[in-house]
């Protein structure tokens, strides 16, 4: 069985999947691509619906025996199923619901806010050719032109503050990890928030538990190995267009 992972810098969704693969000891053929240059849209990658219409926007693509898969939390669930390392999801159904509901919050509320702030702080140079999804292409055009709605930027900053508060509350009982045991929720939360320290510093002004949690996370060998794949000094400052901000509510 050949498993190929096309990934960007270890930040955002690429971080989650790289770290999950290393945590689980899954053997991968790693292929670094430049997400900010739009290489995910090149003909070097397979382009089924699930790649071209991924809700995550620019994220990693895992190809298992010819099936190309996207969306980092679900890729991490897949790796958790097939890998040999310690479980990345709780076994108890209710604890598992808690983890999935937490990840859904990150995916739906935090990630779009982060991606909006991220590309606004470091706009990509050009809209790549070959984008199939018209709405993703629209987000690229806005990002390249530096077009950002003030209300959305303000709301996105508020969302980062709320996310850090939620983590502080979750860790308040002295636990090491968000769900008790280490899980995909830790990886996905860190993946999106790591780069926000520089962009929304006020959100981290009084977050001692979050700070200590991040330090614990970075000390894990699998996480260090993922971060070690960076080819730039600050991978957490590298952003390509991500999920859209909820247009319904």
């Amino acid at each position: 069985m050949t498993t190929i992972l096309y990934h960007g810098q270890p930040n955002g969704p690429s971080f989650t999947v790289l770290a999950a693969a290393f945590e689980k000891d899954v053997d991968l053929d790693l292929r670094a691509i430049d997400l900010v240059a739009g290489e995910r849209h090149s003909t070097a990658l397979p382009h089924p619906l699930e790649v071209d219409q991924s809700i995550e926007g620019e994220g990693p693509v895992l190809v298992v025996d010819g099936v190309a898969m996207t969306d980092s939390v679900f890729l991490a669930c897949y790796l958790d199923e097939v890998g040999s390392g310690p479980a990345l999801r709780p076994a108890d159904p209710y604890a598992r619901w808690q983890m999935m509901a937490w990840c859904r919050y990150v995916i739906e509320r935090v990630a779009p806010a982060v991606a909006c702030l991220g590309v606004a702080s470091a706009p990509p140079a050009a809209v790549p050719a070959g984008i199939v999804s018209a709405d993703l292409e629209g987000r690229w055009r806005d990002a390249v032109a530096g077009r950002a709605d003030d209300a959305q930027l303000t709301d996105s900053r508020a969302k980062i503050g709320q996310a850090v508060e939620k983590i502080e509350t979750q860790l308040a009982d002295g636990r090491d990890w968000l769900m008790g045991n280490f899980s995909i929720a830790d990886l996905e939360s860190y993946a999106w928030l790591a780069g926000m320290r520089g962009i929304v510093p006020s959100a981290f002004a009084a977050s001692p538990l979050t700070d200590a949690w991040e330090a614990r996370l970075r000390a894990r060998p699998a996480v260090a190995r993922a971060l070690g794949l960076a080819t730039v000094a600050h991978p957490e400052a590298i952003w390509a267009p991500g999920p859209e901000i909820n247009r319904w509510g």
């Binding site: 619906l49 809700i55 598992r96 619901w97 319904w248």
Partner: protein, 255 residues
């Protein structure tokens, strides 16, 4: 009395997902119907269960669960009965991919259309002062905006056109996927189908020019197969309005 209570509206969209999953698993539950058009979901009794004021929510013993798709995964894992998540890890990934795509891309477009043609007009004639007070009680700011727009008919032409574009594309994606396999995400009936059916069961009625026996035979085959399941019949019997009754259009044979 059972130890499961489901707070739901019509078998439709988010409410219908855990309802149908519970019926498929054969789990008895106490049904607690909330009238969305009467703003029951923002009343103190329900906010004590789900402070976000959205439907559905489920309690199981001392546990309180929200998020319809995550509730379905819980129902599948916590109770006996047929497995609704496929066993193969790639199929599991595909199930989750589709549920996210439906929940976060296609469903919001259907919602915008549904709220502008149905939900808004249904509540618009209420006393304006009462309506304003009802909106002020909504916990999520995003939802206050959506309700105001629905009531005032204020969705922009651009937003509506974008929603219609996504609905049309979404239908072609569903048709394509159901042309590749019998069920949406795997070779057996499961959570992705339950999710998709709740969004799509009325499409032949609401989008007749896009979804019909000649243009989308695979979607029609799939909808009819799900409609034929005893769990689906039992679930839709809990509907109280014409919204749920739209399902009867699936009784017809292919044209």
């Amino acid at each position: 009395m059972t130890d499961v209570t489901l707070y739901h509206w019509e078998p439709n969209a988010n409410s219908g997902k855990p309802m149908l999953a519970l019926f498929e698993k054969g789990v008895a539950f106490d049904s607690h119907y909330l009238d969305l058009l009467n703003f029951d979901q923002h009343k103190p009794d329900y906010l004590a269960v789900n402070p976000l004021g959205t439907i559905p929510a489920m309690t199981h013993g001392q546990y309180v669960l929200t998020e319809s798709t995550a509730i379905m995964e819980y129902v599948d894992e916590a109770f006996d009965g047929p497995r609704l998540m496929p066993a193969d890890p790639v199929d599991q990934w595909r199930t989750r991919w589709w549920m996210k795509f439906l929940d976060q891309w296609l469903a919001p477009s259907f919602s915008m259309i549904g709220w502008s043609v149905f939900v808004g007009p249904s509540v618009r004639q209420k006393d304006p002062v009462e309506l304003e007070a009802a909106i002020d009680r909504i916990p999520m700011p995003e939802r206050r905006v959506a309700w105001r727009k629905a009531i005032n008919g204020a969705f922009s032409a651009e937003e509506m056109a974008e929603s219609q574009r996504r609905v049309a594309l979404g239908i072609t994606y569903l048709e394509q996927a159901l042309g590749q396999r019998e069920w949406l995400a795997a070779d057996s009936y499961g959570l992705a189908d339950i999710n998709g059916f709740n969004l799509a069961y009325a499409m032949p009625l609401s989008q007749p020019q896009l979804c019909n026996d000649s243009l989308t035979p695979n979607i029609m085959r799939w909808l009819r197969a799900i409609y034929a399941r005893p769990a689906t019949r039992a679930c839709w019997a809990l509907g109280r309005t014409d919204l749920a009754r739209r399902i009867s259009l699936l009784e017809g044979e292919p044209a």
